[in-house]
Amino acid sequence: MFARGLKRKCAEDEEAAPAYSLQRQSLLDMSLVKLQLCHMLVEPNLCRSVLIANTVRQIQEEMTQDGSWCVPVPQTAGRASRDRLVSTEILCRSAREGARPAPDPGDPASELQVVPAAQAPGVPPGGVWDGDGPRENRGSFHKSLDQIFETLESQSPGAVEELFSDVDGSYYDLDAVLTGMVGGAKSGQDGLEAFASTAAPPPSAGCKSDLGELDHVVEILVET
């Protein structure tokens, strides 16, 4: 099931740093894909979704601190790194150990400037899902970028929380949230919150009558 691990020498700093960033980006993409896939299932496992979302948040926080997320990732390298993900040990090591690019204390403005360059490739890394929904994928890619925006600007928690905004009473429609974000994110969080609040459905009253009937039927059966 597992390919033999490719050992990387810690001494080779030049190789290790970008490799770590690549793997981290792959992990981020994989996590976002997992969250997207969630809503296709019968009903998403809330625990799993929360854990994946927390992982995404951690990665993005670290990437923000590094400033290293803005390194444009060519599509082919992204694909190759996904394949190698299975055999790498880098991400399993402590996030702080090994060679990493020194955090760039550069001002937010310069980081913002670099962002459009990263958006230039039409297809985000993790292009495996190209065929299925490019709009959705771009949404997720944009979403991660937008979260960095928000973190830089407002210091508020990243937009990954919006994933749960309408979980109450029904599973979240991630597509709607993400595609909503593509259009609405630029206007800031207000637009998204408005979207989220209208998306929250009322508590499940409809099925109660069905189960209530079942109760009734079972009681009758039991008493006869």
Binding site: E43, C92, R93
Partner: protein, 449 residues
């Protein structure tokens, strides 16, 4: 890597039984066992499966004419506990899979158990019937009603023996109290109430009342966007009816006292082991998520299972566990792959033996691990048809994490991650362990018995 012979546990007689008899020869998804639980006396063993069925096994009485069958478990009763339902509002199917079964302490001839799927808890009564009445006045032997005018004499019906029939009937249905998926149920020591826990809430029920439950824990944030933690398991204290614990996906265990307030949102104690900063990775939180929490029979300790280890906690010490047992540390370097194939989210259970001197938990490749707390020894065993002959001792297994693989060792790279032992149960008094390996049930007994 860390396996050695466990005294007392070293020679474990294996006796394998296959649940549901001939049907398990064919692999059916609906037959995947999802929960295993011994009754309080240990004479009954209940299993629940993905198809909503409950199968109860009963231990055979000692029988001099058949000495080899002493202590064998045989099928006692089978019934359909839950059916798939459809939630019309969300357009989602509610799975019939049985998440948990908990027995009620025996109070009469009949036996009671609680079984639950994601949304509904049911109280089942299992009763025996070995007599039937003959000689009714108002109806014939075949059940047809008699014409009352034809009856000229009255007689008293006579009870006659019949073949034992075991009947299961649903006595209570506790529904509509959970928005999220129920992961735990636990019967209180007062024998009158029980709790049911889902991802965000814990409800308290009275066994007699089905249309009302009290919410005692609610960790749902006002703004769901801020959700970062869920409840993963909950249990009542075995002796103190006001105390319960619940574990979270962040690796914390909170102990609540129901006497302190109606809503136990503020815990009395919080158990959490500080993270080792040198081991921190992106997967740290996921592997710290507690998948099971169990009080010891004594009530003084509790045990938690996270992805890689089993921890024993002293209820008087919140800062760290008193014992940590590594289940499969060799997986630490594989967390990336295990995250990719979702195995990292597997929820393993753990359980104590009757005297709290040993614990058992499952792993992959149909391996399971037993830890003896007094001798500090552990053993790895495997539940598989190939390696098991009836009444032959199980051989301890070893997993080779790297380097040269010795004979009989299993290399980490050849572990079968689809063969996971998530559910185990230990007889309350004897050294008998029930192990669920996908759709097979294995029952192991200590040779000393």
């Amino acid at each position: 890597m860390l396996v050695c012979q466990g005294p007392g546990l070293g020679s474990v007689t294996h006796k394998s039984t296959w649940a549901l008899g001939a049907r398990t020869k064919k692999w059916l998804l609906a037959d995947v066992i999802s929960t295993v639980e011994f009754s309080h006396s240990g004479d009954l063993l209940a299993t629940g499966d993905k198809g909503g069925r409950v199968v109860i096994f009963q231990r055979e009485q000692e029988n001099k004419s058949r000495p080899h069958s002493r202590g064998e478990y045989n099928v006692y009763s089978t019934f359909q506990s839950h059916e798939p339902e459809f939630d019309y509002l969300k357009s989602l199917e509610i799975e019939e899979k049985i998440n948990k079964i908990r027995w009620l302490p025996q109070q009469g001839a009949a036996r009671f158990l609680l079984s639950t799927n994601d949304k509904t808890v049911k109280l089942w009564k299992i009763s025996e019937r070995d007599k039937r009445a003959e000689g009714y006045n108002l109806k014939d032997e075949d059940g047809r009603l008699r014409d009352p005018f034809r009856i000229t004499a009255l007689r008293v019906p006579i009870l006659k023996p019949m073949d034992l029939m075991v009947e299961a009937s649903p006595r209570r249905i506790f529904a509509n109290a959970h928005t999220y998926h129920i992961n735990s149920i636990s019967v209180n020591s007062d024998h009158e109430t029980y709790l049911s826990a889902d991802d965000l809430r814990i409800n308290l029920w009275h066994l007699e009342i089905t249309d009302r439950s009290f919410n005692i824990v609610d960790i749902k944030p006002a703004n769901m966007e801020e959700l970062t933690e869920v409840i993963t398991a909950a249990e009542f204290h075995p002796h103190q009816c006001n105390v319960l614990v619940y574990s979270s996906s962040k690796g914390t265990i909170r102990l609540c006292d129901m006497r302190s307030s109606a809503l136990c949102d503020r815990h009395s104690k919080c158990f959490e082991e500080p993270e080792d900063p040198s081991r921190r990775s992106f997967f740290s939180e996921i592997i710290s998520s507690v998948s099971d929490v169990k009080f010891s029979h004594s009530g003084r300790y509790m045990m938690t299972r996270d992805y890689l280890s089993v921890k024993v906690w002293d209820l008087n010490m919140e800062s760290r566990p008193v014992e940590t047992h590594q289940v499969h540390e060799y997986l630490r370097s594989k967390l990336c792959s295990l995250y990719e194939n979702d195995c990292i989210f597997d929820k393993f259970e753990c359980c104590w033996n009757g005297s709290d001197s040993a614990v058992v938990t499952g792993s992959y490749n149909n391996l399971f691990r037993m830890f003896d707390r007094t001798t500090r020894r552990d053993v790895t065993l495997q539940a598989s048809r190939e390696n098991s002959k009836p009444r032959a001792s199980l051989k301890p297994r070893r997993v080779c994490a790297g380097g040269k693989r010795k004979k009989d060792e299993v290399s980490v790279d050849s572990l079968d991650f689809s063969k996971k032992i998530l559910h185990t149960a230990w007889h309350p008094a004897e050294n008998i362990i029930a192990v669920a390996a996908t759709n097979n049930l294995y029952i192991f007994q200590d040779k000393a018995n």
